[in-house]
Symmetry: D2
Subunit: 291 residues, 4 copies
């Protein structure tokens, strides 16, 4: 397939390379051109503009936030005005439910298709083609994206026809991770004050009840206080919690744990930790306990 | 070994049976005598009194709360006044750090030994001898309990010489479970309002990031709203959170998520749900969202 | 002075009438024309359009939210494009800090002036000319508005040159009221369960430590459960808390009590109480306690 | 009347002196005898023991916490065993509802009377005889204490027959003060980050909506960051919130704002601020915002 790929961060590199390996023709665009070069070296065509990346059957966007997706979609010579009729905008970014709904409408009016397929997993999983994909959109649109999904992910979860449902699941999953970090942070502060070592405690917890990837990954980061450089920074975590709280507000769903996570992200930022890993929520817990 | 066993609830039955199967001589005592009969049928001696269960090398207590442990230990003809010098009181109950410290002192003064060994796992794991054991106490005391641990559990974690450290770990682990239930409850309320089915969501979450026993067990209970009969009731969950918050207060550790869990347990009780499973925290979240 | 007045709700009527009584020439505009007629009967000119209300030295806006202020300011033939050079847009609405900053810039570029002067007080105070005014803006601009302030308010607080500072104070004041309602709600639920009557409790509290207008007003509403019709509805309270939390987020200020208030407003909305008085936060507290 | 007075802290001195001035015969007891001497100089008899202070018609206790009241009441030669039949134990301390209930029972069984009459106000009000008194107990018992109330307070609120109701009101009032401090702390952190001075903000707030003694007193302390020496220390504030939360737990009343206050008191303690004024909750808010 002819595929456009807009946005080349840590996650995207692995995804793009796997698409190339599978034999797809890839045209990649990144605002900072330098970042696209590595993928070009692997065989991707370098696009000069967003429009250049919109000449195929599918254009994938994998960008940092709503603003970035809005810019490439609604901007002059953006996706909306250059993508062919019947072609697909496949959004893998973690964006707001509201923007996803707006994109659905806009592409429909333009005679194009839109589906959302945010991914669960870290850069290593992306590189290995082992991401989990949560997709939503019209059935035949999601079906047409299958060749992409089968290459970048190990499993696909289809959650419905309304694309923003997939974004909702992704936001809620990031909330669950942040809530887990916060809870671990509180528990670890408690046992440390009692005289236990963090790593011994994390070992117990992750060998028994919480023998799950997320607990092992973040438990280790917290035990080693390895918050810099960030795998996923506080600023991005705060953004995702803000989006989760925003849907909760629209839907009248109180989320008190999400509010605490938000407050602790703000506290981390107030201490200058905006670029630290979001696992540094645990550092906020420790600091508030005088550790 | 000659072992006494005081307190025969859901968990204890499995533990006691496994001790019998391994060839230990067991004398069991339960306030409500009826409950002890099942174990007697399996070969245990029925004790007429607490004192009767204190004639061996070890007496195990597995009781509901501080009050029950205090009663059998400090009461007239209780463990403290009847256990032989050098014999061991092995406390498997989930009790407060303060009581565990007090028991340590009291047994020391009486020339006896005390170790704490709360267990992680549910009744099925107890029956299968697959519990996880978190033990703390003087090294040779814990060593002498090894024949017990090897029969009831699949793995032992020794956390130090001060017995109450094991209780601290157990309380913090129960806090982590409750925090997980609360977080899942908020996330599920959010996605349900967006139009997703609980079970589909739980399937996604537990197949990916949170592929852990605790998430699968409680995710299923929440998705099916199977809160009665309770595996572990709200009243017991509230008790454990109260004990965790109490240590946190003594040690000056703020635990905002624990406070939310506490408030939602109270809300569950105010709605008459004191005997429902503690997973019904998720029902509180749903209710507050108008579901 | 020739004064335009845009937006005629409960508060505005009293303000407008007092301006007329003081001899000012008033041109009033309201989207729903019906509402402007009462003031017209008192001597105000009825404007056919926003532009009609922008022909004087000052145009006052007193509207429900950011969206309404944006519409009349930036819309076609709005304030920005029709107000004379050197004339003043005096914004009395409770709007976001971000919008106030944006208005400051936009009017400056257009050669016009902008000042913010949100008011504290209820409709009765507005009718009596007894409002408190919190104003911010360039000194000579605020000075030129003095004839307005002296008529509508009993006291003026100038808080600085940057107009949005006044909005910040107003948002924080509304947060303090909401926090007070929530706290009263929790306290009253507690004493009611102990057997005390709400009104007796409110009498004690407001006769002693909290002998303040806000406590007396809201204490009475809560004691009598007089939540409908709303003096100030939940939906508006939620909006103001959202704006306060948004500034807090930009400035990295955790506000845990504001988060609780937000969650309880959402709970009120989820129960269908969007149009009830914001004092119904206390009803949420009572409900969660099983009352 | 012959009155015993046990416990001579800041508040008690004023109360005791006013009783002396009104012509009552006062026998005072304090564990640290030194503190009782100042009142002795004003004409009070110095008691050698608790029993010495129990020979009159009424014995007043004004002590720091449950433990102190338990010690003088239930201890050897304590109030319970030395007070005459029909005499009254009048408890003015801020103690738990549970202890107040226990005292009610114990004195009843001993043929004595018990009433609770905690006071609202600060040392200056105590010195001026201007306290507010919240009393509960059997009507004729409260009536017999009238000569005391009329001398120490400006107004009496009778809240019922069950003495612990008065303690409940007192605890809830202290919660309301702490909630107010916390809310002010959050609001002040917010406006300070916006560029406003604390004192200007406090002036606005206390001149308008919150023109109440509690807001003026604590607003000034916060604006001037005058947290040492403490009028009322964090440790005592934490104790009262713990007691309020404990009643809330017994009665199934969720109190999320009280939980936040608790967490911030713990944070203050973790920073070494146990002896600072409880208004230093605002310092915690400022610190968490990076101020």
């Amino acid at each position: 397939m002819d595929i456009g790929f807009i946005g080349l961060g840590h996650m995207s590199h692995g995804m793009a390379r796997n698409l190339l390996k599978a034999g797809h023709r890839l045209t990649v665009y990144n605002r900072t051109r330098e970042k696209a070069k590595a993928v070009a070296a692997d065989g991707a065509q370098l696009a000069e503009s967003v429009a250049d990346a919109c000449r195929g059957e599918i254009v994938i966007t994998m960008l940092a936030d709503d603003e970035a997706v809005e810019a490439v979609t609604f901007g002059k010579d953006g996706i909306l005005s250059t993508l062919a009729r019947n072609a697909i905008h496949l959004s893998c970014s973690t964006i707001s439910v509201a923007l996803s709904d707006r994109l659905t409408e806009a592409h429909k009016e333009a005679g194009q298709h839109y589906a959302a397929a945010p991914v669960l997993g870290r850069p290593e999983a992306a590189a290995a083609g082992k991401l989990f994909i949560v997709a939503a959109g019209a059935q035949q649109v999601v079906h047409r994206c299958q060749p992409v999904f089968s290459v970048i992910g190990q499993r696909l979860f289809e959650v419905g026809k309304r694309p923003s449902l997939a974004n909702l699941v992704k936001l809620s999953a990031n909330f669950l991770i942040a809530a887990m970090i916060e809870s671990l942070g509180e528990a670890i502060a408690l046992v440390r004050k009692g005289g236990l070592q963090s790593n011994q405690y994390v070992d117990i917890i992750t060998s028994t009840l919480f023998n799950a990837p997320a607990y092992r990954t973040y438990g280790a980061i917290i035990a080693e206080e390895r918050y810099e450089p960030a795998g996923f920074p506080v600023a991005m975590g705060l953004k995702d919690i803000r989006l989760a709280l925003a849907v909760g507000e629209t839907a009248a769903v109180p989320m008190p744990v999400a509010s605490i996570v938000r407050d602790h992200f703000l506290e981390a930022e107030a201490q200058g930790g905006s670029n630290s890993d979001w696992a540094s929520l645990a550092r906020v817990c420790a600091r508030n306990a005088g550790l």
